[in-house]
Structures are given as structure tokens and as C-alpha cells.
């Protein structure tokens, strides 16, 4: 198979998978929140409400795209593209099995951290170009938050990299299989919690959703967006949720592998195991979202700089010492 054919197939598969996962998580969110709030949730749109996310997406697709007069049009129009490109790009390094991966990069973790910060540009430009004070504040809050939480995200992963002695995502999973335990119970528990908190903040989900903060800023940086561009922001939020949870389960929870299952068949059960772990993590984040109010901007910065970053530095030190001693 030539390189270009392979690339085409991989791109098509990723482009097909990403929205499906997003729709699945949307469904999990609406049904999960309904369950938490003692209400039935969507019931009437086909199959007892199970195609509701699809109907939502179809609705946004056929809506008129409204572009306000004073916006900086090219910037405004391209802002959603940055965001979705960043999150879909991360699919590259998610290993569904040792071979089912778009590209097992040598510097996989580095790629993850580099690509995920691109969405900051999209969010900031969306907020800036909207010609709306609420959007601007949302965009600035988002930029501040993404920069603050990039650090604990990176630093918590460094511990994993030290322990695994590799940056390749497949390599990290293989190391966990070899080790016998996933990293979350063999040394990187604190790093896992820091990673999940920082990832929640990166995803701008409650309790870190000040950039959207609908009771203060209406809809934050995407207040002025409508139609398909709104859909792109909306769907990239859920793709991001999937990607972040998938990476967390790869780095900390043993990825595509579960103990006791024969490793020869990993190509068959690997994708299911990873997606299962991902949805489990996503459900925890959903439960958190529907239980907590949001932080205030300064409290969020305090949490990042005064708690999470020192903790993750300590974690790196501890991991390094353990590595040298044993």
C-alpha cells in the first residue's frame, strides 16, 4: 500500500470515528445528567431518545450561519477550525492496539502536548474577533486558563515518561503490561489525578467552565457563533473529552490492555477495552460536571499555580528518585 493510500484511509477512519465518539459522549452526557437530576432526559427522538445527539447535530447543520456586522470576518470564520483541528489531530497517537494506531510516534507524548495547545489560538481568536465584550472576556479567560493548566498537564505526564522510559504511547502501554500493573496504581496515582484535573480545565468543563460561564458571559467565546460553526465548537468539546480520556486511560490505566486477557488477541479486544475505559473516565467527568458549581477565575489560577504545579514537580522528583534507587 502506498503512503498516500494509507494516509487517505487513516484520515477517513479518524474523520468517521471522531464525530461518532462525540455523539456517543453527548448521549452519555444527556442521559447521565438526566439520571443525576431525576428526570427522564430525551425520550422522543427515535429509539427512546437514543438518536437525539444526531438530531441535534442535524439541526445545527441546517441552521443559518449568522455573522454579525462588526466581526473580523476571516478570523471569526476560521476560529472553529483551529479548535477542531487540534482535537482531531490528537487521534494520531491514540493506540487502539499495538498496531491499530494512526502513527506510533517516537515523541508521542510530546506531540500530544504540542498539538493540544493549538486550540488556545482558536479560542482566543474566536473571543477577540466576535466584537462582543462577553466573548472577549470569555476568550481572555480561556487563554489564561489554558496556559495555566498546560503546565500541570505536561508535568504530570513527565512522571509517566520517566517511569516508562519512552515517549511513545504504544511503548508506555507495553511498559505497563510488562510491569503487570497500570501506572495509576504503580507510582503515578497523584499524576493521574493532576492530569485529570488539568484535562478538565483544558476541556473547559465544569467546575472550570468560566470561559463559557453561561450565567455570567452568556456563552463565553462562542456567544456570537451559530449554525455549523457553533456545531464545530460543540462537537470539538466532546471530541476533546473523548481524546483526553482516551489518552488518560492510555497513559495511566493500561490503555488497550486488561490483565488476564491473552495479548495475542489484543487487536480484537483492544479497541473495545480502550473505548470502555474512556467512557468510564468520561462518565466520572460528567458526574463531576453535574455536581459542582464553577470556580472563580482567581481561584482557578491559584489552584493551578499554587497546588497542582508544585505537586506535579514533587511527583517528578519522587519518580526520578525511585527510578535511580531501584
Amino acid at each position: 500500500m502506498s503512503f498516500s493510500t494509507e494516509l487517505l484511509i487513516k484520515v477517513l477512519v479518524v474523520l468517521a470515528t471522531a464525530p461518532v465518539m462525540a455523539l456517543g459522549l453527548t448521549l452519555l452526557e444527556v442521559k447521565g445528567s438526566a439520571w443525576m437530576q431525576r428526570r427522564p432526559g430525551p425520550l422522543h427522538v427515535g429509539l427512546r431518545g437514543f438518536i437525539f445527539p444526531l438530531a441535534t447535530a442535524a439541526k445545527y447543520l441546517q441552521k443559518e450561519t449568522i455573522i454579525p456586522n462588526d466581526v473580523d470576518e476571516p478570523v471569526f470564520k476560521w476560529a472553529p477550525a483551529w479548535v477542531i483541528a487540534a482535537v482531531v489531530g490528537l487521534f494520531t497517537i491514540i493506540p487502539l492496539s499495538p498496531t491499530l494506531i494512526v502513527r506510533d510516534l517516537e515523541l508521542g507524548v510530546f506531540f500530544l502536548l504540542a498539538i493540544s495547545s493549538i486550540s488556545t489560538i482558536g479560542v482566543l481568536t474566536a473571543g477577540w474577533s466576535s466584537a462582543n465584550k462577553f466573548s472577549l472576556m470569555g476568550g481572555l479567560r480561556a487563554a489564561g486558563q489554558l496556559i495555566a493548566y498546560e503546565l500541570p498537564l505536561i508535568l504530570s505526564v513527565v512522571g509517566v515518561v520517566i517511569q516508562a522510559e519512552t515517549m511513545s504511547t504504544v511503548g508506555i502501554v507495553e511498559k505497563q503490561i510488562e510491569f503487570g500493573f497500570p501506572f495509576v496504581i504503580s507510582g503515578q496515582g497523584i499524576a493521574f489525578i493532576i492530569f485529570m484535573i488539568a484535562a478538565t480545565a483544558e476541556m473547559m468543563r465544569t467546575p472550570f467552565d468560566m470561559p463559557i460561564g453561561e450565567s455570567e458571559l452568556t456563552m463565553g467565546f462562542f456567544t456570537e457563533y451559530s449554525g455549523i460553526r457553533f456545531l464545530i465548537f460543540y462537537i470539538s468539546e466532546y471530541i476533546n473529552l473523548f481524546v483526553m480520556c482516551a489518552i488518560a486511560s492510555t497513559l495511566f490505566l493500561g490503555g488497550y490492555h486488561v490483565p488476564l486477557l491473552p495479548t495475542e488477541w489484543v487487536n480484537f479486544y483492544g479497541p473495545l477495552v480502550l473505548i470502555g475505559k474512556t467512557f468510564l473516565l468520561a462518565f466520572i467527568l460528567i458526574a463531576i460536571r453535574w455536581s459542582f458549581p464553577r470556580f472563580r477565575e482567581d481561584q482557578l489560577q491559584t489552584l493551578a499555580w499554587k497546588v497542582l504545579i508544585p505537586l506535579s514537580l514533587l511527583n517528578i522528583m519522587a519518580t526520578a528518585i525511585m527510578k535511580v534507587v531501584f
Binding site: 437530576q37 467546575p207 460561564g213 453561561e214 450565567s215 458549581p293 472563580r296 477565575e297
Partner: protein
Amino acid sequence: MAQTMDPNNMPILSEASVSVEIETEDMTLNIGPQHPSTHGVLRLVAKINGEKISSVEPVLGYMHRGYEKLAEVRTYPQVTTLVNRIDWVSGFANEIPFIAGAEKLMEIEVPERAQYIRLILTEMARISSHFVFNGAFPLEIGALTPIFLAMEDRERVLDLLESVTGGRFHPNFNRIGGVKPAAGAGPTTKKDIQDLPAGFYHDTKVAMQKVLEAVDRFEDLIGGNEVFQIRTKNVGVLPKEVAEEYGVSGPILRASGVEFDLRKQSNYLPYDKFDFEIPIGENGDCFDRWSVRTSEMRESAKIILQAIDDMPSGPIQAKVPKVIKVPKGQTYVRAENPKGEMGYYIISEGGLGPYRLKIRTASFSNISILPIMLEGALLPDLIAIMGSLDFVLGDVDR
């Protein structure tokens, strides 16, 4: 300034240091009248410096309906339909002070049973109003779950209110001299007036137990939530001297540590027959305002349970003339509404309607402290403070 180049006045280069501080200008942010957390159509013109608020000016009047003027062209029984709509979250409680004022001017003794029914329904209105607060306040600071739970729990209380009065929000149930027979009661004949629907006592007891459970759940879900605590504790502290000077009343005043509750201090309804406590806050911050209201729900449920057990029998309507004319006189009657003190100054000139009706509403005074409380606060605190004041725009604008 047109200044000529004077060599003596030329700035010396060493003194003309480069100013590294960037000149910034406050941004004017117009919040409302269409905004998710302004409870309707309040408009705030805020000057903000980054996230910090330098000044706020509330702009009112988007819901001004001129009730004081309209009351002058209505008869006394008709005014109750108007006052129902002042604070629509607790419509029933609005009627009480007006009706009590008219009765005081006409010197009518209201039968005890009617007073008990009024008291029970007022406390139900208080519970339903505080349920709305318990849903809306966390919603404003970002927790979406409590409002669904609160609305479901409130429904039980509203069902009871509806079974008695026939209306969920605007009961229009009080008559001068008593109350009307309940909507859910059987057919009314001259001999046998059924004033409450069948099974009302039992249903109320069940519902009040559910309310007590709900209050426990809210104290756990909202009050025990760490993020909620750090968002509300020491935010929007209102000293009691300022609160008194601005006429801030109700749970907000009590959260600031003033034990002022007209249910204890005044005698507009027979509250002195029941055993209940007035919850008091210590710091006067947003968390205290939440906790005072939530504890009040428990006390209200207790009052209702006692009143149900203690319910006297007898008529529910005093003898009144068919055409109600209120003799000349002036009086001010006030009551402890869910939002605070509500009062009516009625000036009667002996006609069918009031010559002048001054409506003193709680939310109007309660939000008049917004410019003071919000100065120097952060933008997210603005939302928390406004939510904790629990105002209704109909109660502000009248």
C-alpha cells in the same frame, strides 16, 4: 495646551523616564436587561477593569407596571389580583398585608380558622419561594443539578397551594374578612361550607416530611459542596449597619446578624402560637444568606405541621358588607414575606378604592445596596451576590 518652547521648561531627559505602566481604561459592560442571571429584566451598567468591577449602576423600570396608580382605579377586592403579581414567586404572601390593612381600616375581626389557613398558605409560599432560590442560586454560580431537584420538590408544595386556592402562582384567595372556600373542596352549599379540600391535612403532612427531607438533601448537596463554599464564603459581605440604613430586610438582614423577623415581632397572623426559630447568620456573606433561607424552609415546614395539628374549626369568613367601602383612615400594615418586609400604606378616603396605595416591597430596598456591595468585587462575584439577594423584578419595579 499651546505652550511655547521655553528652554527652561523643557523636560530634562534623565527625568523623563519611560512609563512602563500601560494606560488602561475601564470597560463599560452592559449586563441585561436580557441576560441569563438578572432574574428578568434588570439592567446593570458596570464599569470593569479586567475582571474587577469599579462601579455598577442598576437601571430599573423595564417591568414597571404602575401598580400604585392602577390601585387607585380599582376597588379593594380587585387590588388583590394586582398585588398577587408583585412577587410572583410567592404570590399568596403578597395578599396578606394588603388584606390585613383593609381589614384593620374596616375594623373586621377575622375568624381564627381563616387566619390559620392564611398562615399555612403563606408558609407554603415561603417554602416554594426558597425552593426557587435553592435552585436558582447554585445555577447562577454554575451548578445545574439543584434546580431540577428544587423544582421537583417545589411542585409538591405548589400542588397543595393549587388544591386549596386553584392557582399555582396567583391564588387571589384572600377576601376581606377571611378566605374563600377552597377550589378543591366539594360543592358549596349555604349550610355546609367545605373550606379545605378532602385529604388536605394528610397530604400536607406527607408533603412537609418531603420538604424536610429535601432541605437535608440541599444542605448536603449545596452547602456541603466545597466549590460552593469557596465561591460564597466571605463574598459579598453586608455589614448590618449598611443593611439597616438601606432598609434591607428579610433573610438578607438576618444573615447579617440582625434578629428581625416580623413573624415574631408583629402580629399580623397568629405566629405567636407556634414554636419556631429564626435562623441568624454570622458574617452576612452569600453563604449565610443561602443557609438562612434554607434553614427557614425547615422552620416553615415545622410551623405548618403545628398549624395542621392545631387547626381550629369555625367559619372562614367574617360578616362583611356586600359592597366593600373602607372608612376614611390611614394605616401601614407590614408582613414578613419570603423576600423580606412587604407593607402597604393605605390611605382611604371612604371610597370603593384606596385614595393612595404605597406598596413597600422587599426586593426594591434589597437591591438598592447593589452599587455598594459590588464595588471592587469580581465579575463572577457579581453573579454570586445578585443570586444571593434573591430578588424578583416584579417585586423591584412593581
